[in-house]
């Protein structure tokens, strides 16, 4: 099956039904391996054992942003190319991205209390991440408010494109402003500042979380296609009755 064939919802459903068991199994294996490496990682010389929260916090933050980036590309697909699966992908990604962003905020607070002495501070990184979470809630509310999927898709696509401005703000907030949150330590010019015994488990957990995201995204897209079929069938039923 060519990638272009997946643009057809029926072919996408066939692909999803075949791929999901394998993706689910790969996710379980990746988490088992990643967690075993994370639990075996040494304590940080400054933070001690609380560095283990990083193995959840950082992948959750990455995926919260990745989901919005995916929604941004899908929104272009909706507005410019009117791709049949673009708004399905955007709608499916919103709750998943919101959940990962919430997880990032919660684990960040639980990490901040022992390290900074506070659960929350209104610094640029934390605030821009909170704004991302609120944007997700806005998108979800918008999808639920507008009944016609094609109208909802266009409105959500515009809000998504506007909200994409928050992504570089989150990324560079630690460089542009003086924040309590630490600067970039994984993806930065000059290489990572994290020692490999901690960096490798972090990357393994990031792979596991990414596999989880892909699995959930495909499953949620399958659900959305089925939901639209139910809507079409109900419209057919209503027109047959009238």
């Amino acid at each position: 099956m060519a990638v272009a064939d997946l643009a057809n919802p029926s072919r996408f459903l066939t692909f999803a039904n075949r791929a999901l068991p394998w993706l689910g199994a790969a996710t379980v294996v990746a988490f088992a391996f990643g967690l075993s490496q994370a639990m075996g990682a040494p304590d940080d010389y400054q933070q001690g054992a609380t560095v283990k929260i990083m193995f959840l916090h950082v992948p959750a933050a990455w995926l919260g942003m990745l989901a919005w980036a995916l929604m941004t590309v899908a929104s272009l697909g909706t507005l410019v190319w009117r791709h049949p699966l673009a708004d399905v992908a955007a709608k499916a990604a919103a709750p998943i991205g919101a959940a990962f962003t919430l997880l990032c905020l919660v684990t960040g607070s639980l990490w901040g209390r022992p390290e900074w002495g506070t659960y929350w501070v209104w610094d640029a990184r934390l605030t821009s991440e909170l704004v991302l979470f609120l944007l997700y809630l806005g998108i979800i509310a918008l999808w639920r408010t507008v009944e016609d999927p094609s109208r909802a898709a266009r409105a959500a696509a515009i809000l998504t494109l506007v909200g994409a401005i928050d992504l570089p703000i989150i990324k560079f907030s630690v460089d542009w402003w003086n924040t309590l949150h630490q600067g970039s330590s994984v993806f930065r010019l000059g290489g990572s500042t994290i020692y490999p015994t901690i960096l490798i488990p972090l990357l393994l957990m990031a792979v596991a979380f990414t596999l989880l995201f892909v699995t959930l995204q495909i499953a949620a897209m399958r659900n959305e296609i089925l939901r639209r079929r139910v809507r079409t069938l109900r419209l057919l039923q209503a027109s047959a009755v009238s």
Binding site: D43, Q47, G48, A49, T50, K52, I53, L56, H57, A60, P95, I96, A99, F100, L102, L103, V106, T107, L110, W111, R113, P114, L212, L216, A219, A220, R222, N223, L226, R227, R229, V230, T232, L233, R234, L236, Q237, S239, A240
Partner: protein
């Protein structure tokens, strides 16, 4: 910094992650079952995607040309 000193924060973070992931998986799985059930119910009533609804043509009145 000893493990026991901030053990509660680490446990709480992993518990939160487990809860969020479990809720996501449950939401996707339940939604799939609900949509499949709706489609099955509609198909049982004879409503299928490829079948166009058959509309009864209005009967011609006496003297009316077809």
């Amino acid at each position: 910094m000893a493990v026991t000193e901030h053990f509660g924060f680490i446990i709480a973070a992993y518990a939160a992650a487990f809860a969020v992931v479990a809720l996501l998986i449950a939401w996707v799985a339940l939604d799939y079952r609900v949509q499949r059930r709706h489609i099955a119910e509609l198909e049982m009533r004879g409503i299928t995607r490829r079948s166009a609804p058959v509309r009864a043509e209005p009967a011609l009145r006496t003297g009316e040309q077809a």
